[in-house]
Symmetry: C2
Subunit: 256 residues, 2 copies
Amino acid sequence: MTRILLKITYNGKEFDGWQYQQNRRTVQGEIERALKSVHREFIRIHPASRTDKHVHALEQYAHFDTTLDIDPEKWSFILNNKLSGDIRIIESKEIDPEYHVRYHSKGKVYRYKMYFGEPSPFKYGLETHVKDELNIDRMREAAEYFIGTHDFTSFSSAKTVIENKVRHIYKLDIIETTNGLEIVIMGSGFLYNMVRIIVSYLLEVGKGNRNPESTKENIENKDRTQNPKVAPAGGLYLERIFLTEEEQGDYLKENT
Amino acid sequence: MTRILLKITYNGKEFDGWQYQQNRRTVQGEIERALKSVHREFIRIHPASRTDKHVHALEQYAHFDTTLDIDPEKWSFILNNKLSGDIRIIESKEIDPEYHVRYHSKGKVYRYKMYFGEPSPFKYGLETHVKDELNIDRMREAAEYFIGTHDFTSFSSAKTVIENKVRHIYKLDIIETTNGLEIVIMGSGFLYNMVRIIVSYLLEVGKGNRNPESTKENIENKDRTQNPKVAPAGGLYLERIFLTEEEQGDYLKENT
């Protein structure tokens, strides 16, 4: 048996998320269908992260086990031939059968894209349109409070069943683009909806509806109800997954 | 009765083209649904051009007649509130009830977008991926033969029922972009599939499968079967429609 690791990118617009659901188009469902057509039997795939409906991935990892004698590097080519153009396997390789990409990976980077001006049909589902003027200095001031180790109960879905809500945020950058803004957040891990609630909170700060200084108290309150709704899924990109501490360290060095 | 002209843009990816079809998502169908919900009765909309399945429009025009006493400029706002993010009414205004945007407009510009390198899920349906290396000088040489007044039987769908296949091409430019190519074609009018057949022909020339010099004979043969299949719809954008000769003249002056 060989464990194969896939590096995957997908446009989430026409997917009901990663996780398999009957009669829905999901990323897992599409890749498992491709794997089944090669193996002639069902093969389960395990992702590093289960992205939500309409969320994109610039880099996602997933692994599966195979008994077929196929060159590990060839899997990307074989599967791409069976997948639609909105998913692409960037790379495939063999990994240690003891390595589980969800439990052993070290952290992630998400990017949230938004734009100003007239709404564009060509950005629909790919970037979030913001009509308000934003005060970026205020947003950056608020962003500082998220960095470090915190209990993120206030910034995760009330439906979260995971007990330990402490996560470490390494970086939270707000980047001005030609006609918009990108929020890049790097953390040890993220709770359900956490990035999209932090983004919508920062937007409220930028619009002047929240004070940057109250962010500390907001986190300490551990109360989800005080914070705004999640930001739309279409602006969110899973950008990096660190398979090892070394990869994470290199990213931090390159991005400081 | 007031005739309202709409300037429209849409991302064609999730549309089965402009023209209404039962149980299909079409641009006409979506706009007529929005108009019906305002008028409480069916209102027909007439486009300048019926774009095919998955073809995009940066600028499309269409008009409808209304007896409602609504400020003509307000229609864009009213309809945008009822339309999905992949269609957008850029502008609305009153026009002469004798003006028919399909019969009275003077010409059009189409743009075809393609890119090289690794296929990207985020360009899927928006630009056509080309894996071959292209000789752009050869393509430009072939492009010259299309300019002027010709019978374009060789470059239109065999299904075309229109008898007069003579059209005038004003410009045919091949533009290199950061990681791809755009073909911009301006004409008095276009036959069914004409732009997409010209594009696929130029790609064959670029790949070295056709000689630029044989383009003249190819046009003169008036034989559709000698030419390649249509290029994929997702790379094609209806970019401009000239409502008057003056608009067309201005465009030519600005783009020479």
